[in-house]
């Protein structure tokens, strides 16, 4: 057998799961879709002493509209459910655009929306998407609840603000204003392979065609998804010209990212990709916002 021995708990309610996590402390780990945790355990890179399996808790899997026109997505909602949900497509077209790039259908049938965010892979798409969509994350532990902005959730590669006895329970996506457009652009060696670099943008125009908001996040080019300050600073308050977009791309590629070199790409090549992808992503997002 591949993984080391561990204790296994299969709670059927959130309360029960939180009770286990509270008892186990550093010895315990949440098992969501297992599509990242089980490979790591098969390699014995992860050696948790006990798993608290959330798969038997139906109350953690849902996609619900919120009062303000946004959506609340339960942490155990499978990636494929998010990918094919008409509710999601209507309100957040960025998500069905992104989802097919995450692994393969067989993995998206099991992997979960919240699990991917909690996993905090710097090359993962959903941590970045949670930031670009301004998500609010509901975090539970026995007897208490707190909310964390996606922007403040990620601390480093595979590191988040979650404490061992805590669990990510829900991802709330606030409604997007009218005249908002979004776009996801990535370059990877294979579809369903992690990207060498990727960019997601969400931009809003006013009636006169001036930019009122520009959120842009870059993936695989730092320890965490990187929210561009240049996009906001340069674009907001003016009409999005190709020159302004090129300026954002230049600043983003040269100053805002910290790419590494690995077997897939050099740091220099990643900077080049970011320059190109920022331009494509922002241009497309603005075109969509103007429609």
């Amino acid at each position: 057998m591949k993984p080391i021995p561990f204790e296994y708990f299969a709670p059927t309610t959130v309360e029960e799961a939180l009770e286990h996590l509270s008892n186990l402390g550093y010895g315990g780990k949440v098992l969501a879709g297992g599509q990242s945790l089980i490979p790591a355990m098969n390699f014995r890179m992860a050696r948790p002493g006990a798993l608290v399996d959330l798969n038997g808790i139906p109350e953690l899997a849902y996609i619900k509209p919120t009062a303000d026109g946004g959506l609340a997505i339960g942490t155990m909602t499978r990636d494929s459910k998010v990918e094919h949900s008409p509710e999601v497509a209507k309100r957040f077209p960025l998500l069905p655009e992104v989802m097919p790039n995450i692994a393969h259908p067989q993995i998206r049938n099991r992997g979960t929306f919240g699990g991917s965010i909690a996993h905090a892979d710097p090359a993962g798409q959903l941590p970045a998407i949670s930031i670009v969509l301004n998500a609010n994350l509901k975090v539970l532990k026995k007897g208490s609840e707190r909310w964390v902005k996606a922007e403040e959730f990620f601390l480093g590669p595979f590191m988040t603000v979650l404490e061992p006895e805590e669990m990510l329970a829900e991802v709330v996506l606030p409604a997007l204003p009218p005249r908002t457009g979004s776009s996801y652009q990535q370059v990877s060696r294979q579809k369903g392979g992690y990207s060498m670099a990727a960019v997601a943008s969400v931009v809003t125009l006013d009636e006169a065609g001036k930019c009122t908001n520009a959120r842009m996040v870059m993936i695989s080019v730092g320890d965490v998804p990187i929210l561009s300050a240049a996009a906001l600073r340069i674009l907001v308050g003016q009409k999005p010209t190709p020159e302004a977009i090129a300026e954002v791309a230049e600043i983003a590629a040269s100053q805002e990212i910290d790419p590494g070199t690995d077997i897939h790409a050099t740091a220099e090549y990643r900077r080049h990709l970011i320059r190109v992808l920022v331009r494509r992503s922002l241009t497309t997002a603005f075109e969509r916002a103007a429609k």
């Binding site: 021995p5 098969n42 798993l51």
Partner: protein, 159 residues
């Protein structure tokens, strides 16, 4: 290590077994139930050889623990057809030479069965997407794509 009793329906048959939590579903199927049609290649989700249907949906059996199958339904390639009465997909794979060593084949078949049920008339592009998560080291994929198209025709004429 504590073991757990699981009750799982595999290919329509209910099994009750004692398992260690760390036993992968792929190993449970092969070693405990003797259903060796499910193949194991990479054991980290990349190759697709271990693809089975879990409650009707294709998933990696190397990335699910057997204990998690408690109360669920699993379908393996053994349920697809028999040598006498093959599934149209199996016939088409044979007729179009869509396999050589056959190591990857069960994973392809279990990926494609639900795909053809929802895409009765797939385009080449859709087929390529559908098999994106399955690696074959022998065929070069072109024969597999031909086989999927033939299987779709066979299924359409039979229904």
């Amino acid at each position: 290590m504590t073991t757990h009793t699981i009750k799982v329906k595999v290919n329509g048959v209910e099994y009750v077994r004692e398992v260690e939590p760390r036993l992968l579903l792929s190993d449970f199927l092969r070693h405990d139930l003797g259903l060796t049609g499910t193949h194991v290649g990479c054991e980290h989700g990349i190759c697709g050889a271990c693809t089975i249907l879990f409650d009707g949906e294709p998933m990696r059996s190397c990335l699910i623990f057997a204990v998690q199958a408690n109360g669920h339904e699993v379908t393996t390639v053994e349920a697809l057809g028999t040598p006498e009465k093959m599934h149209p997909l199996q016939e088409a794979f044979q007729e179009k030479h869509a396999l050589q060593c056959g190591y990857c084949t069960p994973g392809f078949l279990m990926t494609l069965k639900p795909f053809l049920e929802t895409h009765p008339n797939p385009t080449d592009e859709e087929i390529r997407e559908a098999i994106d998560g399955n690696l074959c080291r022998c065929t070069g994929y072109e024969h597999i794509i031909e086989a999927v198209k033939l299987a779709a025709q066979k299924m359409a004429t039979r229904s």
